[in-house]
Symmetry: C2
Subunit: 349 residues, 2 copies
């Protein structure tokens, strides 16, 4: 553990890009999920910053994000050093973003070990998180490409899985057999039973240079685009293939390791999930009058809301839009967003 998270060359990298429509109308193109306070008083991004502050000082915390979000990020994270904000000229998925971040980092600290973390998730147990990252950082310092894998507590079909060579009860690092796409329910149930699968939560720990070397092998055009961009050729970015880091690197890399994480992780995948987290934090709006509407939750409303005969519904009010959605059909909010695009309502997107 000498070269773990406490070592001077451990850096944290927050992935603050990413968009999506699941939290419309609260989330917008310029205010995606990580900017929302979906689980507590603070936006998920700010909670993420506070979490990695347990692992590194501000001088070693980096944020990667597309240009459109830069101002909002600076505002939310006043402690972020200007030279630690890595700007993607445009969003091109996680492989180019992480490549750019790692290349920027390696230029500053060639020995850097970096933990890469999404900012739109929740981790309740920060101590357990810190211990797992430190464990992974040890392996990373020794040269491993390391993931954090979430111990599943249900047969979830919404996540990719990591098949491990060995029980996920081990503290790890465990060798990863392979990356598995989102399964159907039957498969997910089997995965849970075997005790050798973890959820892929998109959290990675590695030496920056080790990752870039692997990228050279698996997706060299991304590496080239990034290096040319850092050499001043801004347009080179557009040549970086839009790929996830899983697809571009991790699924093809050899000797990937994983450290199991059992730290109250939650991906906050829906308004319903946000309601549960806010309730846990004592922050769920209790003012609505619910008649025959158990499990219904209201977000953002300043006026009194009354609901009659509609259980398990999410109601989300913003100054310019109101969404009423049955929780089990929240996927279809994307159809609302499509319709607004069709109507040219960019003001609402």
């Amino acid at each position: 553990m000498a070269r773990g998270a406490k070592a001077p060359n451990f850096h944290a990298m927050l992935l603050a890009g990413g968009s999506g429509t699941r939290f419309w109308p609260e989330s917008r193109k310029r205010k995606p999920k990580q900017f929302l306070a979906l689980a507590g008083k603070r936006p998920l991004l700010v909670e993420s910053w506070r979490r990695v502050r347990k692992l590194a000082p501000p001088s070693r915390i980096w944020v990667v994000a597309p240009a459109a979000l830069a101002d909002s990020i600076r505002e939310l994270l006043p402690q972020l050093r200007p030279d630690r904000l890595v700007i993607e000229p445009s969003p091109r998925d996680t492989a180019p973003a992480i490549a750019l971040a790692c290349a920027s980092l390696a230029a500053v600290d060639p020995e850097a070990v970096v933990g890469i973390f999404p900012t739109d998730h929740v981790v309740r147990d920060v101590d357990a998180f810190k211990a797992a990252v430190e464990r992974a950082a040890g392996a990373a310092a020794a040269g491993d490409l390391c993931c954090l894998g979430i111990k599943p507590d249900r047969p979830a079909t919404g996540f990719g899985y990591l098949k491990c060579k060995g029980s996920v009860r081990a503290k790890g690092p465990i060798e990863v057999d392979r990356f598995v796409e989102k399964p159907d329910l039957a498969k997910a149930k089997r995965f849970l039973k075997t005790g050798t699968y973890l959820w892929n939560a998109g959290m990675f720990v590695w030496r920056a240079t080790r990752f870039l070397d692997e990228l050279d092998r698996t997706a060299p055009e991304i590496r080239t685009a990034v290096e040319r961009m850092l050499a001043g050729k801004a347009k080179a970015w557009d040549k970086a293939t839009k790929l996830s880091v899983d697809y571009a690197v991790m699924e093809r890399a050899r000797g990937v390791k994983v450290v199991p994480l059992d730290a109250g992780w939650d991906d906050v995948g829906s308004w319903q999930a946000a309601a549960a987290l806010l309730e846990e934090a004592g922050l769920l709006d209790r003012s609505p009058v619910l008649v025959g509407s158990e499990g219904t939750a209201v977000f953002g409303a300043e006026k009194l809301v009354a609901v009659v005969g509609l259980p398990d519904v999410s109601i989300v009010e913003t100054p310019d839009a109101l969404l009423v959605v049955r929780n089990d059909q929240s996927e279809r909010v994307r159809d609302v967003v499509k319709e607004l695009e069709k109507r040219g309502r960019r003001d609402l997107l």
Copy 2:
């Protein structure tokens, strides 16, 4: 017909009291249903005024309402003569209100024939309405207590019925056998089949003095309270028994007649009914984005509303409240109002 609605002594009396919670949050204690534009551009009360203007000049149109609503009524009906607004000191149901109105009218015109009309209903075919009232006015001038009865087009369970001595296909007046309480569905179906039942819509035509004479017989304490009040004893009003005119007079009166009315009448009993009427008028809000939400309607929202997976729901937004209600459970809106009373939220009632 010489003494029909066109006769100089035909007066129209609009009942503008009445409250209820079915249209909360749009309706409030001081802004009940008849003040809402539930079927067109104008409030139902204003539509009612325009309808009876086909029957009488402003000098012979009266409005009865409780004191709390007087200012709003004057504002909505600028043509209403100040001396034609009959104020109930407090709401005491329709028998005292109509008694007070008829006594006030008889004091001005002892020969007056008066048509009494609720103001929270819709009548689409004003010509048919006018013809039926004129027909009833003829019978009333000759001394009959006359009702207008709606030709049923479905086995409604929400209305009282008039059992007629003869087919409702006649133009009338037909003699009324008896008044029937709201039936269950099986009974309502039988009523519809017989062809001798009409809906009691609370519309009456009679000589003012004829009604007062009948009241003397069936509910003399109301007559006494009204006369004492008109003689200057305001407190006498509190002695007028709270009774509906059906119960206090019509069900006990002899020789009641009815003229069938087939004029696109609708009692606008729910938000769902209002949606249908507004759609008919081309006034239903078409801006909401409805995904898997057929039959759902939105009222009063200035912001964009999106609904996902919730068919047959009414959404009603006002500056201080939002209601989301499943149409088949709209009766339970009263539970919302009760809860707000319990919470002391008089600002929302």
